[in-house]
Symmetry: none
Subunit: 223 residues, 4 copies
């Protein structure tokens, strides 16, 4: 059996095992058995448990990023043609649509591959080498979100400074909210919401606030 096929079997088994039991509790014995191969073969192909887990993270990370990027249309020639423009809240900005589609893609992906998502979501807890890897993923996503938010702000005519000073925190908030909603949506037993519904919840939650900020309004405790 060709190496690539075997290797994918192993990664599948590993993702399943790590998702179910976590990094430490999943044993190489179980993973090898689930993959239908002997343990030495796993070591021959994937070096060590650490490397195996890293490979899982990388694969799932790539899949998630590809899904979200695809959703935003970032890979399509995007600046072409007239953009609908407009501020958040006024409807139809290109960046706004991209964000919306990215969120939809994100929730669709995490719902479609719960085990992969579980691996990613749990990996930052598992010690240094993996935390770094997931931090990379988070940075990648956050950067994308930051870009979109920033572009929306610029579209709306607000100064560059805003993008640099405040958008990053907002992006972090958004990513955290999305993460939380993904877990929540995946774990519901009753009426599990569709990806679009979940994405709409998040857009409802924050988009207007963002629009206000771009206009220069700030929330403050004593008004």
């Amino acid at each position: 059996m060709p190496r690539e096929v075997r290797e994918r079997q192993m990664l599948d088994a590993a993702v399943a095992g790590f998702a179910r039991h976590g990094y430490q509790a999943a044993s190489m014995d179980d993973i090898a058995e689930e993959a239908g191969v002997s343990k030495p073969l796993v070591y021959l192909y994937l070096k060590s448990k650490e490397d195996l887990f890293t490979a899982c993270i990388r694969r799932e990370r790539a899949a998630l990023v590809e899904a979200v990027r695809g959703g935003t249309g970032a890979d399509r020639a995007d600046g072409d043609g007239p953009r609908a423009g407009g501020v958040p809240g006024s409807g139809g900005s290109g960046a706004e649509q991209q964000l919306w589609r990215g969120l939809c893609a994100f929730f669709a992906h995490t719902a479609a591959r719960p085990e992969g998502w579980s691996v990613l979501h749990r990996a930052h807890t598992q010690g240094e080498p993996f935390a770094r890897e997931v931090a990379g993923l988070r940075a990648e996503i956050t950067e994308l979100v930051t870009l979109l938010l920033g572009r929306a702000a610029v579209d709306a005519g607000c100064d560059e400074e805003f993008a640099e000073r405040e958008v990053s925190g907002l992006a972090h908030a958004m990513v955290g909210a999305a993460e939380s909603l993904a877990v929540w949506a995946n774990s519901r037993t009753d009426a599990v919401p569709s990806p679009k519904e979940t994405a709409a919840t998040l857009m409802n939650f924050c988009w207007t606030g963002l629009g206000q900020m771009i206009k220069g309004a700030r929330w403050s405790p004593h008004r």
Copy 2:
């Protein structure tokens, strides 16, 4: 040395160890050594590794909840007398202020006790008994947030149905965003923001959006 003191030393050491290495990777040997105590004593007082970790979670959970509850003023006689009222966005609602102060307290607490926060934040990954414990914490906080959001909505004169149908999802988003921001704030090496700044970021992010929702506006992809 009296039992209570020793026990607190052990819990301190355990929180530090679990925060640094995670549940599985932290060894009882190391924890005992860090506590300046022999291993058998740890077992004598805290029964088992599982019980020790549970005790850590419970302690930190209680501290966090107390801090946040105290921040919201939930323990003060608060509903009495006429409330200032007001919609989100119009300033000065009782619920809005409570939420604001709760967030400040939350970010202040997580910044003041990074290890305790780390334990709580990582515990849901560490297998069933612990996941349940932090799920309880999350539920407790989410319920509080749901209550505040719902009350704000009612204050603003919107129908009860809103509270029941949508507020829960929003609360989850908010809790997730707060969690993410807490980690992010704690992990920054440059210019770490004050708790109030972080809380303001989150309020800016979502409060206006919430106000719009209460008024009946909904975000939709094709406008």
Copy 3:
């Protein structure tokens, strides 16, 4: 080295260790070392200390029962054809001969495998799961003896009632006497008696008494 061979080595080492130190005091380290093997291998093959000890008991029990059964000729087609008959004391009963040969086999076996015998003899002290196992052995042997004694009684023409009422106690006495003699014979440093001598001692001790009982005579304190 093939699994079966290794497994037998381990059982041999375990029987030796348990015989020398008892269940609790024998350490898995020592057993593994004596078997010329690492500890994990012992666990891989035999699961746990408890299972290992149980396996020892079962093996030695089977060997002992087989030896004794073989000695009685119970496996040969023995009841067929006219039996020589005869009461205890009158010589030559089939049951009497079987008992004699069974005793010889028993003492020969316990002398030939002192460690195995020691394990069996000491196991009833070592807690529930093992006590049950040797209780089974004891019951098996006692039942065999009861059968032979009962048959001898019936051969001698005594009523069935005798067999049911009193033979069981006698069988217990006989088994206990045999057990005691086996230990005693094994532990002698001077002139250790041959199995046949030991068996003859026991037959001398009780056979005539049994014959008298069958005839209806009873010992009583005040005659």
Copy 4:
């Protein structure tokens, strides 16, 4: 509280604990708790677990020996008055009566103090220092039985050689049979036999055989 009283409490608790769980499995913690004292006090009075167990054995051994000796009337001025005389089987020998009464006393004692008996019965399994102690008890009892059997033989007019050559083995058989019957009687849940019944079972079993031997008859396999 005076030392003697405390010490007896501890021994009582220890006997109970050792009887229930065996030497190794009984913990000093449990014993101290059952005795209603702190652990250091146990160590102050009884030095170590080994010494504690030895003390238990010695106390129970002394009690058992005293009971049996008392039963045989060995401590009474025994040669006085006319003895009934007679061979085993012919009724009424002094030695025979002594043996009978000794057996009754033995079974009565083991039934009355099951925990003490359990300690003694299990101690020979627990490693060297204790095995020696119980071997001493066994030797003491066996010697007594040997003496009685030998005296009976001499009473019956058989030569001295018999006593020296064969009586010892018979005594071992008898002691083993008695031991086995004691355990069996103690462990029965249905109709537990009285000490006298158990003793009668044993006398029935062996006394006539012994009588025959004294007369010079020997059992042999081929008659």
